[in-house]
Amino acid sequence: MLYFHDYSCISPQPTYGNPVLGQLLASQESKLFAREPAYSGIPPGILRRMGKAVRIAIGAALPLMKDPAMGIIIGTANGGMEDCIKFLDQIIEYQEGMLTPGNFVQSTTNAIAAQLGLISKNKGYNITHVHRGLSFENALLDAIMITRENPAGHYLVGGVDEISSYDYNIECLAGWYRSHGIGNEHLYQWEGTGSLAGEGASMFRVSASPAGARAQLTGIRIFQGEDLTRVEDELSGLLAEPGMNGQHIDLLLSGENGDARMLPFYNTVEKFMQRDTAIARFKHMTGEFATASAVAAWLACHLLEKQELPDHMLKKGLVGKEIENILVYNTFKGRQHSFMQFSKPLPAI
């Protein structure tokens, strides 16, 4: 369906460069901030204008841009929100007077894909999907289509969002984040509603060709709705697909986030799993945000390749033999849902 040749991730855990996942890094004041590396590859003249979302996205993508790509596909719910709020503040503070345009230009969600195109001189397909909790999944679907349409080409696809004061305050008001409480190591022991805020950028180099691939996407389902039977229907539909049929799911990577309102969805999916399918979670590592599923995709690729599942991720079961298939299920606010199945690539013949 789609082959992953390279991947890179900047997240609140040491995922960048040489990933070390065994030791969980703690949240600060109910937030999981991305660990930013030194951005040696970004020209200072361009770096100075970038907000965090743009910076971490480009930082994560640059190692994958050494070889030419035919296009850039980004999923982000909010893009450079912090710039957006800076510009908004100017409008109010200076009463629509003389304003600096830099924040405005950086606040458009497509600034990320555009800057990536600019830095890598990429004149190909350049698109930004912004469908909130399904931004990354829609970007993946786009990648599936475009690699079918251009089987010879490699593409960059990724998901990114930042913690912005804007988004954080609004999500707190709406009850999606807890602004105080327990740290991320106890995320799943919380009772009640709300999760931890998080951020991250995960980038993938993909193509339709299995040659040299490190992981593959074997199935994807994207849907919306609030009823549990839809989740069941989509999952059984996915498992019955020809590419999936008969494959054993070794690991379910669940997007459980400590918010009691989301548990029924995750429980429904867990119940569907075979007895020997291990269940792992990741939101204590990343926090909750609209494109957290992109980090899950990165984790799935990483786990398939390295076969190291840190204890703090495991919820249930044991991984006895090699992990060959990982199913990721994630819901954003119980309204937007996705299943993504990642598998070891078939050995090249």
């Binding site: 200072p44 003249g45 770096l47 100075r48 204008r49 003389m98 304003l99 600096t100 345009p101 830099g102 230009v105």
Partner: protein, 87 residues
């Protein structure tokens, strides 16, 4: 304010306002071109600098041609500020 002091203040303001990460205020020469090969600023920066002149010195430049004449280097900017500042 003495011209020399104004130059130092302005350099600091430019570095901060444009977030010039790798530039120290004292490294900017008074006659170094702001745009093109010198500091390497671009058209968005030129608008940002006009806003800086407005907020810090109460100078209102409407005509972009006027802006191009003022925003050549530190010398031309300071010269203009000294003649036109309202605060």
């Amino acid at each position: 304010m003495e011209t020399a002091e104004l130059k130092q203040v302005l350099k600091k303001q430019i570095v901060e306002f444009l977030n010039l990460l790798s530039v120290k205020p004292e490294d900017i020469r008074d006659d170094e071109p702001l745009f093109g090969e010198g500091l390497g600023l671009d058209s968005i920066d030129s608008i940002e600098l006009i806003v800086l002149l407005n907020r810090e010195y109460g100078i209102n430049i409407q005509d972009p041609k006027e802006g191009r004449k003022v925003l050549v280097d530190i010398n031309t900017m300071v010269d203009y500020i000294e003649k036109h500042r309202t605060k």
